[in-house]
Symmetry: C2
Subunit: 244 residues, 2 copies
DNA sequence: CGTCGGCTTGAAGAACATCAAGTTTAGTGG
DNA sequence: CCACTAAACTTGATGTTCTTCAAGCCGACG
């Protein structure tokens, strides 16, 4: 096993498509310019144009939009193995801002290289389109949560989804995971106030479901949490490679 | 001008990429099996697998998810020129249901044909990826609305976005458009109760902003509506073809 | 050792949901 | 043409969820 096979993206894609050495090589080709960004300073600002796309190697990032009154809606968090700004590249101009939550490392991906890799290895293309579709499915699920779940179920669902995603890149399991988010991040993601997030977390903790504290999510009762959240990981869990 | 150039999809893509005759031909290749579906009966059901993808030719459709308590969240509406079920095809199993709101006509698209067209005409591929990115941007904007806009602004934004989309396929303008949706559809899309939707519509009407009645949206004061909604059509309006 | 970000808790208020009861409109069969 | 029905819409009264405002706590870090 070489380094590329160990990259979080390769690990994620391998859960979907059994990649050949050639395809691993094509994927490796994309990993050229490695860059570092520090926590808290926006990498991309809403309205900027001609952005690059990245693959996140380490650290956590969030994508968000700001309203004129200062309210913020976090659309998604990115963890290692996720793409950053793929949509911005295609739309020419970024419709959202991107902020590293921790210090991060990311590799820059040139659109031409990506399209080149598509032409070269169609199955890799399928795998990447799968990953993009999965990202979109997560946004959809997020929308459903904000639109139709009450605050408790919304939080439960969020914490479970995050856990499932982290598990896919080997960073968590059903017992919990390390998580650098603050309660303000949760509030901005879930469409709640920070005050209410605090109360919701207290209730989930007192109900013996899950504890969010000191950068650590500890799941006490996975099954009851799943029931509360109506969590169905179908769109995240490929049980095995679909394309042989 | 041939029939394909007049298809709503061709019209929409042409706003992004100036398509050559070859590319129009490739696009036409995709328009093979035409099918009809009647209003109200689901075309695809949440959890079904191995679905086809479609391009909508005429009529309106909605994509939604149902919660166990019967609450429904409409994720998006599709109008002529839009894709249906593209994500379901890539994820193998549909994460949402699709229901025709009116009787519709749609052409079935085979994934292999689509990927074939991609290999044949890369610029068409770019155009279709642009369309998919635009759809995703709409879902993101929808999420922001449900998470951070109050009911009035949310409704205003929704009606404006729909108008802008319809304008792109020649079905509406800044004065208004025909719209077969019921107040229940609006409620399910906006994460509100039908009762509240009714009150919001009354207020927007009494404020002289917009009237939603008898299948017709009439915009009385476009500029004030845009201000209320903080509507920025950047992600919908390509001012002209980006790729020459 | 002061300050600042993050967390916690209480009290009051606003936005929206729910419940209940009409009205209006389009369609349908007699 | 009319009676009947069902879906869509409308409105008022009441209740819940979540927000906002206010205050204080704790630990990290200069």
């Amino acid at each position: 096993m070489n380094r590329t096979e160990n990259s979080p993206l390769a690990r994620k894609l391998a859960a979907f498509v059994a990649l050949s050495p050639d395809e691993f090589a094509a994927l490796k080709q994309l990993h050229q310019r490695r860059r570092t960004f520090v926590a808290g300073r926006d990498m991309v600002h809403q309205g900027q144009s001609d952005q690059a796309a990245y693959i996140l190697e380490s650290g956590w990032v969030c994508s968000y939009k700001i309203m004129s009154d200062g309210a913020r809606q976090i659309v998604d968090f990115q963890i290692p193995g996720d793409f950053l700004g793929l949509r911005s590249v295609l739309l020419q101009t970024s419709d959202h801002s991107i902020e590293p939550i921790t210090d991060i490392q990311a590799v820059e991906v040139l659109v031409d290289d990506l399209l080149g890799a598509f032409a070269q290895t169609p199955r890799l293309a399928a795998a990447i389109l799968w990953a993009a579709s999965r990202d979109e499915a997560m946004v959809v699920e997020h929308l459903v949560g904000v639109g139709r779940r009450d605050a408790n179920a919304r939080m439960a669902h969020f914490l479970l989804e995050l856990g499932a995603r982290l598990a896919l890149v080997g960073m968590g399991g059903k017992e919990g995971y390390a998580c650098p988010l603050t309660q303000y991040h949760l509030a901005d993601a879930l469409g709640l106030s920070a005050v209410h997030v605090n109360r919701v977390l207290r209730q989930l903790r007192e109900d013996g479901l899950v504890t969010f504290r000191d950068g650590q999510v500890t799941i006490h009762d996975y099954d009851r949490l799943v029931t509360l959240a109506e969590f169905d990981p179908a769109y995240l869990d490929q049980t095995g490679p679909i394309l042989k």
